[in-house]
Symmetry: C2
C-alpha cells in the first residue's frame, strides 16, 4: 500500500506559467497610463481595485481585465482615450489566447507519478479559461479528477476530500502558493509540498504561522518531487 | 422504486431571474451609445462581439461586460469617453451585485421534490457568480450535487451522468433553454421538461429538429412540475 490515496497539484504557476503573463499585462497597462501617472501609482490603484473586486469577480483573467479597465479610468481621472482602453482590453484577450507553457520537468513528473498514484488537479480561476488550459496542457489524461474551485480554504479542501472519500492524512498537495496550496491543507491534517514560482502575486503572500514551520516540504524545482515522494514512502 | 434516479434543474431563468438583468444592462449600454449610433447598430455589434468572444470568455456576466466594453469602443469608433466606459462597467458590476430573485413557485417545487428525489443543479457561467447565486438562493441544501459546467452539450451531460452513475433513461432535466437543457439531454436518451422564460437570449434560440418534437414535456410554469412528475410516475 502506498502512503497517499491522492496526490493533488495546483495548476497556475505549479504546472504551467501564469503569473508571468499577469506581469507582462501589467507592464502594458502601466505604459498605457504613462501620460497620466507614475508607475507606482498605476500599480497601487490596480492592486487596490483587484482586492476590492475579488469578492464579486473571483479569480482569473476576466476579473483582472475588468479591474485593469476600472483602475485605468481612475488613474487617468477618466481622461483615458478609447484607443487606450482598447490597448488594455487587447492585452487581457491576449492572455486568454496564449497557449499554455508547461514548467520544466512537469510533463515527466506527472506521467511518472500517474503510474502509481491517483492524481488530482485542484485550481481556482475562470472555469472556461482553466478548462481550456487543461486541454492544451496535454496532461488531462493523467488526472483522475479535475476540480476547479472558487477559493482554496480549509473548508473547500475538506469538502472536496470528503466527496472523494479521501482521508486528509493520506492526501498530498503540491503547489506554489503557501496561502492557497499549503497552509489550508496542513490545517485539515493533510501533507503539502511547496514549490515556489519565480514571481508571487502580492495577494498570495502570507506569513507562515510559527506552528506550521517545518510541517511542509519545500522544493526548489518540481523535478525533485519524485525523489521526495519515494522518500516519504520509504 | 421511482422513475428517476436524479432530477436536475438548470439555474439562470429556470430557478431565478437572469436574462432580465442582461436586458436591463443592454438598455443602459444602448443609451450610453445613443450619441454615436442607432440602437439596432449598438445591439448588432454587441451580439457579434459576444459570439466572437464566447470561445475565449465562456458564459457569464464578466465575459458579457468585456464584450459590452469592446462593442462600445467599436460602435463609438473609439470616441467614447472615460466616463461613458465607466457607465458600461458600472452596469456590469451592478448585475454581479444584484441579489438572486427566485421565480414564482420555485421554492415550493424544489422543497417538495427533494423529499422524494435526488436533485441536481446543472448550470453554466462564471464559477464565482454562480456559486454566489446558489448560496443566496437558499436552495443549496435541497441539491445533492451542484455542477457548474462550461457548456451544456450531449458530451458534457453524458460525462456528468457517468460520473454520478446515473442511467440516462432514469434522468430528468428541467430548464428554459431548448438548446442547452432539452435537446442535448434527449440526444443521450434522457427525459426533459421545457419551461420557457419570458425572454430568450438570441444565442439560445434553436429550431427543434422534427424527430425531437413531442419527445419532451412543455410547461408554462414551474408550479406545474409536481403534477407532471406524479403523472410520469403513474
Amino acid at each position: 500500500m502506498t502512503a497517499f490515496d491522492a496526490i493533488a497539484f495546483d495548476a497556475d504557476d505549479t504546472l504551467w506559467h501564469s503569473e508571468s503573463l499577469y506581469a507582462n499585462a501589467q507592464a502594458v497597462y502601466r505604459s498605457v497610463l504613462r501620460p497620466y501617472a507614475r508607475a507606482e501609482i498605476s500599480n497601487r490603484v490596480l492592486h487596490e481595485t483587484e482586492m476590492r473586486n475579488l469578492a464579486i469577480y473571483g479569480y482569473g483573467v476576466k476579473g483582472f481585465a475588468l479591474s485593469m479597465i476600472e483602475a485605468a479610468l481612475e488613474v487617468s481621472e477618466w481622461q483615458i482615450s478609447g484607443s487606450e482602453v482598447q490597448q488594455v482590453l487587447n492585452v487581457a484577450k491576449h492572455m486568454l489566447r496564449t497557449e499554455v507553457e508547461l514548467l520544466a520537468g512537469v510533463a515527466e513528473v506527472i506521467a511518472q507519478l500517474a503510474e502509481t498514484y491517483s492524481l488530482m488537479l485542484i485550481t481556482k480561476g475562470d472555469l472556461a479559461h482553466q478548462e481550456a488550459k487543461i486541454e492544451q496542457s496535454g496532461l488531462k489524461p493523467y488526472f483522475r479528477s479535475i476540480e476547479i474551485v472558487t477559493d482554496k480554504t480549509p473548508q473547500s479542501y475538506a469538502a472536496l476530500l470528503a466527496r472523494h472519500h479521501i482521508e486528509p492524512s493520506r492526501f498530498l498537495m503540491i503547489g506554489n502558493s503557501l496561502r492557497s496550496d499549503i497552509l489550508p491543507v496542513l490545517e485539515i491534517g493533510g501533507q503539502a509540498v511547496h514549490v515556489p514560482y519565480a514571481i508571487t502575486w502580492a495577494h498570495e503572500h502570507v506569513d507562515v504561522p510559527p506552528e506550521q514551520l517545518g510541517r511542509y516540504h519545500e522544493l526548489e524545482h518540481i523535478g525533485q518531487l519524485l525523489a521526495l515522494v519515494e522518500h516519504l514512502e520509504a
